[in-house]
């Protein structure tokens, strides 16, 4: 139907069809109509052209890969003589430039010219809205320019004039001109700065903010929020307005103001701003607002906290309000901060002590309910750091925790946190009735997880010495070496097996079985309660019974088991997903680079404010004075940063609570010092580089520190030798074995004395000289793909460094001469196939073999494609025949190892935008990272750059030269894969291949 309509000569029908296409259209059907719609781009009617462009825009949104080839036609649409078509094409450009601005820099001139024409009123009058020429078109263009000119001086220079013009023209006092102005200001502050323009834009913002119209005020605040990230001094100019907005009756305005304040927070004004935010937080009920605001407060508190007490109290407020809706990173980060500490050990202890004290007072209060997350944080802190208390004994703390444990409103997850805290405290409390009571209470608990913990505690409690060594005080940050294979349980497993226990099945296998037969026992609770622990991913028949039978084991086994469990529990805190180095990249010793001598400027600001105070003091009412006071506390320290603002948006924030990265101190001493130097020069560029290095350093150092138990196989790093050897061996095996097979069969009726494979082998060494050079590359076994009574065709792949070489060898089985044998390949969309020279022998003699070589290049990624063609030949000059064949090509045929250094990996990693993450279950044979990576290396031809602890870096490229990076990380039996590439589809395809490999082996 649609198809017919699109081909119709009736304008209305085509119009309708195009509209429908752009409204509802299944992705799979795009190729069917695409050529038709492309044709419509040349239609004589502008409305058809416009609708065709919009339909293509829709296609671009849902399947960008399918319209890639018509980008050039969009350019035509951009230059269309009809304004409507041009405007429609801007949507596509805005989208594409957002994704990759560097590819469209050459169009900047065109956009500037268009904007100039629009602003100059060159458009037909019916594009005017309230006598403003095409305002929405202007906005669209301004946005595009902003994206193009970002951090690019040359491109930005092209647009200064037109922006100036836009600012000047938009004088008319109508709402829509304000909309344009807003966009203009946004663009001016996005592109490479020019002081003149900045000044004008800043003046414009004044118009907004001071306007009595509430909508404009809102817009002004929004603009200001954006602008002060580049130039904080602007906030000073408008401080009184900001203060007024802070008390505005409209909560939306208030919210926007807080957003603004959040951007100008520094160490001096943090208390006031956070207080304002907390006030707002207490009033709001909407979950989304709470989550958002709580995150911001936590971030500010962490960055700028002036002292311990304030920090802990703010975080308490955050936890009690944010409760269970907040982002899980917040409590995790907070705990890590406490655990890892800062530079100063005594200060750390004070902070911890203060936290413990404040939690104890909070717990003392009757009839107060805290969110579960808060209780979890409390129980961890109390468990770890109660030893710092002088007055209260661990027993008293345990008593408090016990009270919570008996509380019905506490969730079972929190209870496990609580009981873990009690376990940690027990060795410190010499004898405690509470613990005994607790054990008694929970060993009969219905909750299996709790029962498990209670049993652990019970057995530990019986052996105090062991318990003390197991649960040392203040060691939460130290890593323990874990025997991930749990080999110490092998004896137990063997015993169990010999007594007839069922062999262990991994989790996924069990799930599959469960799916296949519904009524199978449900093992879920175990899987859940030990989440990441060793139970699920291991080979042990005890998987089911271990929980309660731990006592039946020898004491040692049981205890060690607990040990590893405990560790898992603690580890979990630091985030399964948590990508540690990345998160830390903003912290670290950057603050060391922050120039401090700016206090004088700050004082100046203060003085200026107080002076103003004095001069106006006579006329001011008391209320105003308060506002002034608030202003001075809010905007203190803003002037100081003005030295930084023009030099890019580098995050030069000093973290009050610097995380001590004790890991890296030893190793990267020299690098840090150079970092400091580069940082202090404040070029944004060097900052970027710095972050790169930093990221790598941390990665590196973590690796050094963590789990040295993995012995790296050095040959692992040598990719080629490994993969090549077995293949070559196989090949020769194959060529050896087949002839003998033939001999046995004694099938002399068929002439070939040699099998095809053998002949290939022979030929590769004898017949054609250029094949010799190819043997140094890895190649696949020859496979017969088709034959008839006269010829047989076999093919094999040679994976050359720069392309895939397909070799078809045609063996003439007949005793007659073959003339003009020819091989032709059908064209395929995804490939470029070129014939290699030197294989055009006109005659194939009897019983001989000749080969055709084609190099295959890939045009765009795919999973699997079929390359087909046919052989035509003449026999005895008369009889001509054809034989068709096809070969499967997989993406892997075009993947080559990419040998780069870790540094390059880091840089590339940051520069790639397309990423894909996925967790993959590993089979038991590859439970450890090195073996898993080895599989990837062998099967997918990835290059292993480095293995660091439980993380690995790999790289490969898709021919001709699309790089793809892979970061792997292992938890228990799960391999977290993280791909990045410059090509948007490649990661998906590679991930698919990885999954196949990991599951297959």
């Amino acid at each position: 139907m649609l198809y017919q309509d699109l081909q119709s000569t009736n304008l209305v029908e085509v119009c309708m069809a195009l509209t429908v296409v752009s409204q509802i259209f299944p992705r799979e059907m795009i190729p069917a109509v695409l050529p038709l719609i492309e044709d419509k781009l040349q239609h004589s009617k502008e409305i058809i052209r416009r609708k065709a462009v919009l339909a293509l825009y829709k296609f671009h949104l849902i399947a960008p890969n399918q319209v890639q080839h018509i980008h050039i036609k969009f350019r035509k649409a951009l230059c269309d003589r009809d304004v409507g078509v041009m405007a429609a094409s801007l949507h596509i450009y805005l989208r594409m430039i957002k994704e990759n601005s560097s590819g469209y820099k050459d169009l900047t001139g065109s956009f500037v010219t268009i904007l100039k024409q629009v602003v100059g009123g060159k458009l037909p009058v019916d594009f005017n809205y309230h006598s403003v020429p095409a305002p929405w078109l202007q906005i669209q263009l301004l946005r595009i320019l902003g994206l193009l000119g970002k951090d690019d001086q040359r491109t930005s220079e092209l647009m200064y004039d037109v922006l100036d013009e836009s600012l000047r023209r938009a004088e008319l006092n109508h709402n829509v001109t304000y909309a344009i102005l807003f966009e203009c200001v946004h663009t001016v502050y996005s592109i490479y700065p020019k002081s003149e323009l900045l000044e004008k834009a800043a003046k414009c913002i004044g118009k907004f903010v001071l306007s009595p119209k509430i909508n404009l005020k809102y817009l002004g605040l929004k603009a200001l929020t954006y602008v002060i990230q580049q130039d904080p001094t602007l906030a000073l100019q408008h401080q009184m307005t900001i203060i007024e907005c802070l008390d505005h009756p409209d909560p939306i305005i208030k919210r926007e103001t807080l957003e603004l304040l959040y951007r100008i927070t520094n160490a001096q004004n943090v208390t006031v701003i956070v207080q304002k935010m907390l006030e707002y937080l207490h009033q709001s009920k909407e979950e989304y607002v709470i989550v958002n605001l709580v995150g911001k407060i936590a971030e500010l508190a962490e960055k700028y906290a002036p002292d311990n007490a304030w920090f802990i109290q703010t975080m308490n407020a955050v936890f009690s309000v944010g409760g269970d809706v907040m982002h899980p990173d917040i409590p995790n980060n907070f705990l890590r901060l406490l655990a890892e500490g800062f530079d100063d050990e005594t200060e750390d202890q004070q902070l911890r002590l203060y936290a413990v004290q404040s939690y104890l007072t909070l717990l003392d209060m009757e009839n107060v309910f805290y969110p579960q997350r808060f209780l979890q944080v409390m129980s961890w802190v109390l468990g770890e750091y109660s030893y710092l208390l002088d007055k209260e004994t661990p027993a008293e703390v345990i008593a408090k925790l016990y009270k919570l444990l008996m509380n019905d409103s506490v969730s079972s997850e929190t209870k496990t946190w609580l009981i873990a805290a009690v376990t940690k405290l027990t060795p410190q409390a010499h004898s405690s009735d509470t613990v005994e009571r607790l054990i008694h209470e929970f060993t009969i608990s219905l909750d299996t997880c709790m029962r498990q913990h209670a049993f652990e505690l019970k057995h530990l409690h019986e052996n105090v010495e062991l318990m003390k060594s197991l649960l040392p005080v203040d060691r939460s940050c130290e890593d323990l070496a874990v025997d991930a294979s749990l080999s110490f349980l092998d004896g137990f497993v063997a015993e169990g097996l010999s007594q007839g226990a069922a062999p262990y099945k991994p989790h996924h296998q069990r799930q599959e079985e469960k799916l296949s037969q519904e009524k199978v026992l449900n093992f879920e609770p175990y899987g859940l309660s030990f989440s990441s622990s060793g139970f699920t991913g291991r080979q042990s028949p005890a998987g089911i019974s271990l929980g309660s039978d731990i006592s039946g084991n020898s004491a040692e086994t049981g205890l060690k088991e607990t040990n590893s469990l405990k560790l898992e529990g603690i580890k979990k805190l630091w985030g399964k997903e948590g990508y540690l180095p990345k998160k830390e990249s903003k912290t670290g010793d950057e603050s060391g680079a922050l120039p401090i001598p700016q206090e004088s400027i700050m004082e100046n600001v203060d003085q200026a404010i107080t002076k103003k105070d004095q001069s106006q003091v006579l006329t001011q009412s008391k209320e105003e004075k308060e506002k002034q006071l608030l202003a001075s506390s809010l905007f203190v320290g803003l002037g100081s940063e003005s030295t930084v603002n023009l030099l890019g948006k580098a995050d030069t924030v000093s973290h009050k609570f610097r995380r001590k990265s004790k890991v890296k101190e030893a190793k990267s001493g020299e690098t840090t010092s150079t970092h400091n130097m580069t940082c202090s020069s404040f070029s944004s560029l060097s900052n970027v580089a710095y972050e790169d290095d930093y990221y790598l350093n941390t990665l590196h150092d973590r690796g050094d520190k963590e789990l040295k138990t993995f012995s790296l196989n050095s040959e692992l790093l040598d990719s080629e030798s490994l993969t090549e050897l077995p293949l070559v061996e196989k090949f020769s095996n194959c060529s050896l074995s087949t002839p003998s097979l033939f001999a046995d069969n004694s099938m002399e009726i068929f002439h070939p004395p040699q099998s095809t494979a053998a002949s290939v082998a022979k030929e590769s060494s004898l017949a054609s000289p250029f094949l010799e050079e190819t043997t140094e590359y890895i190649h696949s076994n020859a496979m017969e793909i088709c034959n008839n009574e006269t010829i047989s065709v076999s093919s094999y792949k040679i994976w050359k460094d720069d392309c895939l070489l397909m070799v078809w060898s045609v063996t003439n089985k007949s005793g007659l001469e073959l003339k003009s044998a020819n091989l032709e390949i059908f064209p395929v969309e995804n490939f470029k196939v070129t014939e290699q020279p030197g294989c055009c022998l006109p005659v194939t003699e009897a019983e001989s073999t000749r080969s055709f070589q084609y190099s295959v290049q890939i045009e765009k990624p795919f999973t699997e494609e079929i390359l087909s063609g046919f052989i035509s030949y003449h026999m005895m000059d008369t009889h001509s025949a054809q034989l068709e064949f096809s070969v499967n090509l997989s993406l892997l045929d075009f993947i080559r190892p990419l040998k780069i250094s870790s540094e390059d990996f880091g840089k590339l990693w940051l520069s790639f935008a397309n990423d894909v993450k996925q967790n993959v279950k590993m089979s038991e044979s590859q439970a450890a990272l090195p073996s898993a990576l080895k599989t990837l290396q062998q099967k997918l031809r990835l290059h292993i750059i480095e293995i660091i602890g439980n993380e690995g870096l790999l790289a490969c490229q898709l021919l001709p030269s699309i790089p793809c990076l892979l970061h792997c990380r292992v938890y228990a039996d799960v391999l977290a894969l993280w791909f990045r590439s410059s090509c948007s589809t490649l990661p998906d395809y590679l991930l698919y291949q990885c999954q196949k490999v990991m599951e297959g082996s």
């Binding site: 594009f127 009756p249 409209d250 939306i252 919210r255």
Partner: protein, 134 residues
């Protein structure tokens, strides 16, 4: 980017709705009631932009009729605000002599079967709108 376009009367009945991103039918009703509730709770002194979950609502009232547009964070609120007015002006022009303006719902319900040809994109020549026109 525009996520949806709503015309709702003061009683909370939806007269016209157009979604540019897929939303389940049953979720639409819920969303529409919440949206109109938050619009009705605003006074004239308050601004016409509301933050709602992770997107923004921009609304304009014409007599008993609200036109609400949901946009994402990157959109220029004022541009959309004026765009609504442009939409209404075009409606007015298109069905000339339709007065008073609160009869708009009738037009809209009459329009509904042909919504496809009357989505904000095709009718706006002058606007060359900022919408993700499909």
């Amino acid at each position: 980017m525009i996520k949806f376009f709503l015309m709702v009367n003061k009683q909370g009945q939806t007269r016209l709705s157009k979604y540019y991103e897929h939303v389940d039918i049953n979720k639409r009703t819920l969303l529409e009631t919440e949206v109109i509730k938050s619009c009705l709770s605003r006074s004239n002194e308050q601004c016409s932009f509301i933050e709602y979950k992770d997107f923004k609502l921009i609304y304009r009232q014409y007599a008993a009729l609200f036109i609400v547009v949901g946009v994402n964070d990157t959109e220029n609120e004022m541009a959309i605000y004026e765009f609504i007015h442009n939409f209404v002006e075009v409606l007015d022009e298109y069905f000339s002599r339709v007065e008073p303006i609160d009869e708009l719902p009738k037009i809209c319900s009459a329009l509904e079967p042909q919504q496809a040809c009357f989505s904000p994109d095709s009718s706006f020549k002058g606007a060359a709108s900022t919408t993700p026109i499909y």
